[in-house]
Symmetry: C2
Subunit: 330 residues, 2 copies
Amino acid sequence: MKIVVDAMGGDHAPAVVIEGVVEALNETDAKVALVGQQDRVEEELKRYSFDRARVEVIHADEIVEMHDPATTPIRKKKNSSIAIGIGLLKSEQYNAFISAGNTGAVVAASTIILGMIPGVERPAIGLVIPTIKGFAFLIDVGANTDPKPEHLLQSSLMAGVYAKEVLGRDKPRIGLLNIGEEASKGTDFVKTTHKLMTDHLPNFAGNIEPNAIFDGDFDCIICDGFAGNLVIKVSEGLMESATTVLKREIKKSPVSLLGALLMKSRLKQLKQYADYTEYGSAPLLGVNGIVMISHGRSDAKAIKNAIKAAKREIDHNIISRFKQEVIENQ
Amino acid sequence: MKIVVDAMGGDHAPAVVIEGVVEALNETDAKVALVGQQDRVEEELKRYSFDRARVEVIHADEIVEMHDPATTPIRKKKNSSIAIGIGLLKSEQYNAFISAGNTGAVVAASTIILGMIPGVERPAIGLVIPTIKGFAFLIDVGANTDPKPEHLLQSSLMAGVYAKEVLGRDKPRIGLLNIGEEASKGTDFVKTTHKLMTDHLPNFAGNIEPNAIFDGDFDCIICDGFAGNLVIKVSEGLMESATTVLKREIKKSPVSLLGALLMKSRLKQLKQYADYTEYGSAPLLGVNGIVMISHGRSDAKAIKNAIKAAKREIDHNIISRFKQEVIENQ
């Protein structure tokens, strides 16, 4: 079992990626293949001590930049770390691919190189998000902005498996994100999807309103990629702006400043609660292989967590489980 | 000039509504018509001292409940405070209507009783939201979940006028809410709308990403009613859950608890920043009359603010300005 990591993906690559990989090596028994510009990768690796036998470095000349079109690894940069890294999954030796690089490029390359799971028409990105009770699985957060209701049903089936196998929920409650609880609420698209899920989805628990996302009463929250991306980006923007407002307020009085200092460690916990886009692991579901997408701003901890999540997916044979679930329910 | 207020609308009506009306009477020179069950309204009014000459009470026997269908005031409860209150705007004496009641019912009744502004096909609810620099105007937050691109263009024209006349922005920057900055990003609907706005909307400043909503660089943020409702409900849920997490963290250590106490007044400022759904005024644009919708949980301050906002709209002759702007740009 070997996990392929895109050494060149992310705002702080390769340094931060390799730092995260080393942390994962030291905390788990994972084997990793680092794909990227060999000399730069080797130079970074020199800075750490770890079990070198568990790391393979595979050279990839090109880098897909963040602003490159999604088709880049397929059309123009076939020697990029994304194209080569995903291609490795076609061999049985390599079992998962992780990248903090250009999301659109990873989605497109995974879809074309790996193909789709039979019965699944479109890929979807899931994200493990924090709730006041633990975690929930939000899907899709941006792969498919104009899905058909059938696509959401297919994602839901996989999400249920993911929640059970990877997040350990025995009977996951699956909700459809909508602006009202009643089946009659929302867009035509959501109403049609609601009906389809009622008829075909085991564990469908009805609509979930956006203000209930973080309550933790649902294990999986299903939506189109536009809505899901909106949810995570609004959360990001709100917490950032609220932090700015709070800092400004605190500076207005020395007493508040003292209070803030005393609370510092706890405020940090809150920040972590809110920074889920950076720390959460985001599996790309629907493609015929394990692919994890990390935020471009990922730090070493986020990379390490992605490796651990990928390892769990491999251990639970998640792709076979997806295939089985989709076949049984269609 | 007289502002009509639905005395029976909202979770704490009529008590809280009347408390807010009295506050507005004491802080402004507004004249108010309270519509609702006369005995209950009069009883509440007895509790306060204010200029009685500026308050008219108009009896309405029925109450539209929060769970009633949107068509209720038109079909079943024609003697409700919503139906009677909105009907008053057909007379020149009454110039605005405010309700914290059933939003769908207010939208439907306003549309049917008042009709639309020429050139505007659908109503849209705007909401004044906080940003780190002041305020922005988010529209639509829930009236029209399946709009056509043309509807968003029409709302944008009115939003620009609103930002200028009521919020005092000289040349309002108008942005289209999208999950990417580039014109090529997002759903087919958003892409078509982007093109339409580029061609026809003065002051169009391009796409705005959801994480930038609270930065304050845009004066108006345009979206469909599903997306807008998602934005405000996700914000609400995130801040509520973050507060829960913070309280839990604080209780873990006496030092943090002391810190929190010292910061209390500043944390309150933050809470107010986040509670904008309850305090913001939400004008219903597109209908041929001034209608303001308040959150069902509105407190007296929210009602008072809605009355002040309605007064500003009347003073600025907002409906005539909408009509002029829509005619000039079509």
